[in-house]
Symmetry: C2
Subunit: 346 residues, 2 copies
């Protein structure tokens, strides 16, 4: 007998199967725009929440309860695997992540600790188990991790960046070192996501958030081989794989080659045009501009209709934003999008 979750809309759509209604969830649906999340963040830091499975599970479940979305996504941070590898990560107030010992040399790559990430990130895997236990059995739980390139961006820059110049310098000036770094991350992320699936995740999303800073030629030469190796490994886990990035219009064909049953589309490309680049034999996820959630309701609804119209009712569309929910987003608008997607596609 198949577990009921395997027939959930989100997983059916990810496999390109027909669904009763278009599934919808939101990147960063657990986060600062939710008052119940802010209440927990008043007492605990981001890293504390990630390290305490009961808290992280509660935060994961909050948006499922409030919004009626078709999936839960594990609450964690893509940078967590860097910590046991020896990178000193801090979330500085208002500045985003800071890594105090960025990796920019062969020696730096050599110093990365070879960890058993399933051991080192035990609390995250325990969170997966707790959520899977407490979540409606019919609703899928998504695991996730950063892609090798995007993790390398943070590890090399020592935090966020506008130009990603240090990352590109390493890529261009010391391609073998860059290659070794991405290979390390590909292995760790593969182990980590395998652990999440073993712990109960029903699908996985790989965030290659910053891939869009690269030209297609650089992506193909320096990034694609590592992402492909990761996706090949994930294919043995038996769950749908979502491959996400922003600003990736010219990379979509290459990201498809790297792997994933579902390819993310940001708002810069109309969904139909993006799906044509991805290919009709894959599913797509997206692609409302997160800023649209701040629009007056009639305008917001028109945009939801437009996205659904461009999907044209073809099987294989998961409704989502083109990037994460922004702080300050009106919760009632997020809820309205869930209802509207379900109503219009029913």
């Amino acid at each position: 007998m198949t577990a009921p979750v395997a027939q959930a809309r989100l997983l059916r759509a990810a496999r390109g199967e027909r669904v009763d209604r278009t599934p919808v969830w939101f990147m960063r649906q657990a986060g600062r725009y939710l008052p119940e999340y802010r209440a927990i963040r008043e007492r605990h830091s981001l890293l504390e929440i990630c390290e305490r499975p009961a808290l992280a599970a509660e935060v994961t479940l909050q948006p499922v309860r409030r919004l009626g979305v078709d999936g839960a996504i594990l609450f964690a941070d893509i940078l967590l695997p860097l910590v046991p590898m020896g990178l000193r990560l801090e979330f500085a107030k208002g500045e985003g992540p800071v890594i105090h010992n960025p990796v920019r040399t062969e020696e730096g790559v050599g110093r990365l600790v070879a960890v058993d990430v399933r051991d080192a990130l035990g609390p995250v895997l325990e969170t997966v188990r707790l959520v899977r236990r407490d979540l409606d059995p019919a609703i899928p739980l998504l695991g996730f991790a950063g892609a090798p390139f995007t993790l390398a961006c943070y590890a090399v820059e020592g935090g966020g960046s506008r130009d990603f110049l240090e990352t590109k310098r390493l890529m261009l000036g010391a391609p073998r070192v860059f290659d070794a770094l991405l290979a390390r991350f590909a292995t760790v992320v593969g182990d980590y996501l395998a652990g999440q699936v073993e712990a109960g995740a029903d699908a996985v999303q790989v965030f290659d958030t910053w891939a869009g800073v690269l030209s297609p030629a650089d992506y193909r030469r320096h990034v694609l081989p590592h992402s492909r190796r990761l996706f090949e490994r994930l294919s043995t886990l038996g769950v749908p794989r979502i491959h996400f990035g922003v600003g990736t219009t010219t990379l979509l064909e290459a990201m498809r080659e790297a792997g994933g049953e579902v390819i993310g589309l940001d708002w810069r490309i109309p969904l139909d045009e993006g799906w044509a680049r991805v290919g009709a034999d894959r599913a797509v996820q997206g692609n409302l501009d997160p800023a649209a959630l701040f629009a007056p309701l009639p305008e917001l609804k028109a945009r939801v209709r437009d996205v659904l119209g461009r999907a044209g009712g073809r099987p294989g569309h998961i409704f989502n934003l083109g990037h994460g929910i922004l702080p300050g987003t009106p919760v009632e608008n997020v809820r309205a999008v869930v209802d509207l997607v379900h109503d219009l596609s029913g």
Copy 2:
């Protein structure tokens, strides 16, 4: 008799005419990567240089002397027109521009001062005159300004931004106010560029640097009409118009519609694919990744060859980066690109 400058490579290429060698210049070719610029910046702030024509002219001429580029570009900042309009602009150390009184309401737009920008920005126009007097008569001088949308981004956000959320909120929530703001900027920028051409600029570049944060639908609805009005006004000036943005792959057709003999291409789209989107009847400018200037010389040369190869010797290509030269760029690499472009296309 035609002035010799009208037959300069850069202007011929901008008009889609055959050239002896591909013209090359660099956005931010006057800037922090040049020691002679840093020497001046040690004694003067950015705004001081802009306000003193002799200094600004000297800084404009520095890269022409050192690099052998095919054009000079006026040294100024795209935010200068905001100052006489009443916005309190400051360049905070290491933070980029800060506007202390951002415009986010109808009242804010109403408070903008109706200035005669040619009077208020007299020092900039005097700089144009000084440069045109001292520059090799065969080398064109490019004037420039920010596009209405990109100026609005800074005015609304109060500086740079990652998500441009305040700008989009205004655009979506109060489209008439947003419209009025862009209309104001379109008028001011038109006057300003007309003044630059009267003072001696041989071509103009309109920087719509942040247009790429918008979906094509939002660009067409909220931005294109203002950019088109600006470009129509500029068409009366009798000089080539360059229309630039980054991350604009899906906007290229709409930017072409808005106007410009030359459309900028960033490095995210291969030059041939970008030119196909722009259309063969327009010229293109680009499209090396600024980070490529940090690569070892053989790698850098391979990338220059690739860009020229994709241009395929067709008339109407101006070699440039996809965005401005980054601080810390090795000057000898910039010089090497100029020589290589000239050698390979000769």
